[in-house]
Symmetry: C2
Subunit: 247 residues, 2 copies
């Protein structure tokens, strides 16, 4: 093990007490920082905020100051237009970032709402910019995070533009499954935090259509569904259902 690794490993323990749970992903812990760099980073994310289910983390139209890293819990973001229509633009879980949309105009362009009791780290954006001018790996990591968000959005556009209802739901479930797995939870069994209506809004479908697709998957033995408790029984069939389907 190199001395750099050792230093990082040591520093990891330090930062762990400050950011004990959201270590592994996204911005919270760019691997490979020096001890003093980590100390600065630790100061950066010192502001915490707790939210109860249903609370708004921020609203469209509010001034933008910070981005947020989810420490625990579950969020949705949505945008609405005058006539009352709205669209869920994403669901965020532990370790993921919220608020990147606000950077462009210094004003949030969507609402972020806790779907269960949650905790976030607020990261004042000007501090982050300052630090990332000093710490190159942090800068690069942040750019990657923003870029990943763009790639994710393209995936959703693909889904909304070309897939049919069952393919969309399959893609959605597989994505959730993979994200739970990456966090050390079961990829096969989990509780949905969002309603059928919210899933539908995200997928560009009505809740009835979502419900019917769940029922069909259950009938075909791909899933077991009880309320919001999902068990995936046949991942590979789900995958092939998602990816070609021209049968």
């Amino acid at each position: 093990m190199s001395t750099r690794d050792a230093t990082a490993r040591l520093a990891f323990e330090v930062v762990k007490t400050a950011c004990s749970n959201c270590n592994l992903r996204e911005l919270c812990l760019p691997i490979g920082l020096e001890a003093d760099e980590l100390k600065k980073l630790d100061a950066l994310v010192s502001t915490r905020r707790r939210l109860k289910r249903g609370d708004y983390l921020y609203r469209a139209g509010q001034g933008f100051e910070s981005i947020y890293a989810v420490r625990s819990g579950f969020f949705k973001t949505d945008v609405l237009i005058e006539d009352g229509r709205d669209q869920v633009t994403g669901f965020q879980m532990t370790g993921e970032l919220l608020g990147l949309d606000g950077i462009s105009s210094e004003i949030h362009t969507c609402n972020a709402i806790a779907l269960e009791d949650s905790e976030v780290c607020a990261i004042p954006f000007s501090h982050l910019e300052g630090l990332s001018r000093q710490i190159q790996p942090l800068q690069h990591h942040f750019h990657q995070v923003m870029s990943r968000e763009i790639v994710r959005d393209h995936g959703v556009m693909m889904l909304l533009g070309t897939m049919r209802a069952e393919e969309r739901l399959a893609a959605f479930l597989l994505n959730l499954s993979q994200r739970f797995k990456a966090r050390g939870y079961s990829p096969a069994e989990f509780n949905l935090r969002m309603s059928r209506d919210e899933i539908g809004s995200y997928l560009g479908l009505k809740l009835e259509t979502v419900s019917r697709a769940f029922s069909r998957f259950q009938d075909e033995g791909l899933l077991s569904v009880h309320q919001r408790k999902i068990r995936i029984l046949n991942t590979s069939r789900l995958k092939q259902l998602m990816s070609h389907q021209r049968l």
Copy 2:
């Protein structure tokens, strides 16, 4: 006029010879830089590339090294999945950036194709990161550009998820119109650079549906359409058609 303004004004003339036409927007000219900063920036964008209609600027799967600023011309980006389906994720015109999707994994995730003879500035990304560690306004501007892309994508998700065919086409045309206007062209009369099929792919519709929507708009006196030449005759009705429509 402050001395800073004067300096910037002076430097503007210098950079103008290097980046004569794509000054005003996106990344090419963050206003307010000092003369020596502008000199560095000028060096950054020194690599040019010409493309003919149909040429690929980059392809999905290729390694990522640079982002590109469109100096002149018109591009589309699209993603494809195994089964042959594809989705146009955006159209880029003069002054807009291409390639932000590649930052996350160092690999391009979509294709960028010239829809007419075009010229781009290649901006090596590691250089850009280096410079933006030194020049705070550049850094901030770049972050805004990435964030704007995310906001734009959310707009497309909204469009794909909640709007019907005519609303989508109206939104698309109004967006194009506004972008032409911002570049000093007529917002009311312009030539589409893309086929009905490409519009359809972007809007999540089939080309026949796009064609019918054009015809209906023409019948109703909102547009005149001749091939790819569009004249907008009634902007306000187009806008209200796009935004509520629950009539």
